[in-house]
Subunit: 602 residues, 2 copies
Amino acid sequence: MEGHSGGGAEKLARLRAELTRHGAQGFIVPRSDEHQGEYVPPSADRLAWLTGFTGSAGLAVVLPSSAALFVDGRYTLQAKAQVESALYAQRHLAEEPAGDYIAKHLKPGEVLGYDPWLLMPGEVERYRAACGQAGGKLKPLESNPLDAIWKDRPKPPASPAVPHPVEFSGKASAEKRRDLARKLAEAKADAAILTSPDSIGWLLNMRGGDLTYTPVALCFAILHADASVDLFIDRRKVSIALENHFGKEVRISPPGDLGAALAKLGAAKKRVLADPGSCAAWIFDRLTEAGSTIIRAPDPCLLPKACKNSVELEGARAAHRRDGAALTRFLAWLSAAAAKGGVREIAASDKLEEIRRGGEHFKGLSFPTISGAGPNGAIVHYRASPATERVLENGNLYLVDSGAQYLDGTTDVTRTVAVGNPTAEMRDRFTRVLKGHIALASCRFPQGTTGSQLDALARRPLWEAGLDYDHGTGHGVGSYLGVHEGPQRISKTGNAQALLPGMIVSDEPGYYKTGAYGIRIENLVAVTELGEGGEGGKKLLGFETLTLAPIDLALVEPHLLDADETRWLDAYHARSRKELGPLLDAPARAWLDRATRPLSGG
Amino acid sequence: MEGHSGGGAEKLARLRAELTRHGAQGFIVPRSDEHQGEYVPPSADRLAWLTGFTGSAGLAVVLPSSAALFVDGRYTLQAKAQVESALYAQRHLAEEPAGDYIAKHLKPGEVLGYDPWLLMPGEVERYRAACGQAGGKLKPLESNPLDAIWKDRPKPPASPAVPHPVEFSGKASAEKRRDLARKLAEAKADAAILTSPDSIGWLLNMRGGDLTYTPVALCFAILHADASVDLFIDRRKVSIALENHFGKEVRISPPGDLGAALAKLGAAKKRVLADPGSCAAWIFDRLTEAGSTIIRAPDPCLLPKACKNSVELEGARAAHRRDGAALTRFLAWLSAAAAKGGVREIAASDKLEEIRRGGEHFKGLSFPTISGAGPNGAIVHYRASPATERVLENGNLYLVDSGAQYLDGTTDVTRTVAVGNPTAEMRDRFTRVLKGHIALASCRFPQGTTGSQLDALARRPLWEAGLDYDHGTGHGVGSYLGVHEGPQRISKTGNAQALLPGMIVSDEPGYYKTGAYGIRIENLVAVTELGEGGEGGKKLLGFETLTLAPIDLALVEPHLLDADETRWLDAYHARSRKELGPLLDAPARAWLDRATRPLSGG
């Protein structure tokens, strides 16, 4: 969290001048890029360049005499520190949405511009209605006016893309393409537009290096009903080896040719599938103009990508053993180092990264590590900086949420450990979070059940004490791909996607006491079939825990656990000892044995 | 479930002839009337008259050379028995929706008619799209062609409506009207259209006798922002006493004047609130034609009606004591009578009704009693008939789901009892259902939690064993009004309505083994505030159980209950003894004491 960069007033003035050249008086600046993903490359981080705000979600609206930045509760403080309040009014993304601001502040007759590559159709509709209410108009601009005034804009990334071998993906691209082509035929679609790089990476068994935490190549694709693909990608990313890996059914063109390809689909009156939840408005506009029939449906890669095949699941198990061994070595180091004193948050996360780097198939972190001591642990999306980091002190809880990308799988794990002696309250809260974690990890449910239905199981032990946590309980995780992926989710808000065998999700209840401490216990789990136990032909499903690493017994209040919960914890620790032990040196193994001693006599 | 009535072919032929007079070739026949409620008077049961099908949900589509009846899983068997399969193809309402049938069977150029009073706007849109797909057209008809050919159609009901005194409603109508008028002003609405008789009954503190199980007067109303109401009701239903009760702010007109009143709102360019979830398409069409701005929003009576005030809650407690005493007397009688043998399902439900009739403030049943022995208990919406009823036999489970309308409250309760010795499987299943019932009844949750979030708590003990039940866990219940009311619900399917203090819902998990037995344990519970326990200013909520009646201990497997569950059951039974005891004669009280003996020593 750095202070604001300055120069903001000049940038705003230049943007407003540039807008008049486009016949517009205002402009919408979202955080997203053309791919609508969670992470954007520096070349697309227009919101950060313009406003100074570097959070992962946000939106600015610039009008002739006012401007506002919209961020959610996670980023309120960060935005205050990074953004000049004289230039941008700060609003809550959900409670005072941008549409309301536009309806109130746009003047009759004014034109609000937007970049149709950066908004999805539903967003455009919402802002169009807001402009209408104000008596103004919403207008797509031909080019992004920010790009014209952003002099030192970084070049778009052009990292080499590589084949993702079938020993990790478990299924040849040709087979995936043929399966999806059959689905397209069933939906009477001639083609599907793919704009999510992780969908394309999954489909073509390709990985890349265009983003820091997600191993994808930024690109677009059209999948045809004959199982062939037009891939629109910067030629510099594609080696001969990759082209050979693709074979003849994948045709490569520069990204700039996408528009012409869409026009061709339209001219041939093709029925084209596009996902309004991930494709930019630009795609829909081109298809409509060209005369295509648009089938609005989810990206066809989403579900098969979410349901890992047996090779991917084996990879996930192996990656989690390696990752768990690294985390265990870190925790063993930390227990000694923190007792001696002087360990700082950044040094701790650097140490963890260093240990992970030594692991086989390690390719990088899967997201920025959250390393928070004491009150910093209570900030759910905390990122330590030299200005904010704390020393791990006696009496602190220390929360570390981290993960890595391995060729054979993606990890994401949170552990909370006590430095010195925890208070009775900390032990009570930690044990309730653990009870919730176990309730979800050990539940069985019939085929057809959604993550939303299961969410309360993880919260109930906290609810009992009038407590809760203000984030979701679980997100999907990719296979050497995005650490956050859909379509499944375990959360309070309704989600119609049933949990299906092979899906990997996180199980991460928590508890946060502002100004004091934070607790989260996160493992990844895979949805698995539990034989044919279910009635009426319905399969009975449950979870297999993938993550292996000790849960701090110093924070467990044994009398709050019932017999089943104690049995779960002891079995989990026994399995961790058995699977991680062979990967550890003797001192770390000895530490693990002590850290995972059984609570029950058995 | 009677056999089909015959004459169906002639009715269909006459309907098709009548349709040509309207310029249509087909017609949609829903179960609903103009009020879109659960129950319809005989005069509006067009679907039953035409097809013979008497279930509470269904739809027929009549085309020139084919016709189909759409029913859900509950009614598959009943429809087969009641409807001539030569005349109507039978389809599953959800799995093969009517829209698909229309898209497939309507011929290009054909016109499908509908009665705009009987469909809601969303339904019209859906059928319009289906007709479009077929190359045909959907057309609202000026009058219902069925009414022209239905010679012996019963007269619409005109039962006297009566004031519902403030000693039961807890709040004067003028005060309710003023509260809602403030809400209308906040939404910048000039008026709201009310077409749900229970909303109008709640708002005007009026009850009626037009439907068998719900004490409402069929009518329409317009609530104006000045807190006055135009009530459109058959004048014969309104006594001088009722008119005095209303006062001058309620103006009475015949139902036929509603159209003119809507036209007047439009001519004055009023902003009018109407609920697309309960108002007929006819209302929206008239408002649009007349030039009103329509605000599509939930019926403003829904939430205040759902959140019972303290007088209504006191009434509910009193009504449940009386109802629980009646049910206990019935169960005491049954335990002796069933042991002797020869008790039939209809005789049992008649006996229960007879006992209830003696209770103070009793006005009728709140729905048709479900009285099912053995395999009949496994039919979720079973209704005993002389042809289907069984004798309660040794080794049977007997399920009785019943409720009553009292001036001070509406009840709905299900008990399952063993006749003779139950099997180990029955005891296991019953205990799991009980565990689910207790988990929901005793849970605590933060303000903002929806019923959908809690649903899994009631299912989890069944899921553990690979079992489930195929219905919702809880529905809202009115105060001397509908036994099913919204907007809250406890079910698998997402529902965005948070549970609010004062809402009454059912807690009714079950288990059904087709061809063998059914189990359901249902109590009504009221959402209550549990002090200021919640964190971050959020209130902590829980449930107060209203229903009092013994739960059959012969079906409880004590070792499957944990200490908290045993404590809950013993405390519930102790409370039932204490509150029902004074209302029982000595033999029934002695039976209750035995039936509710504590499981634990305490």
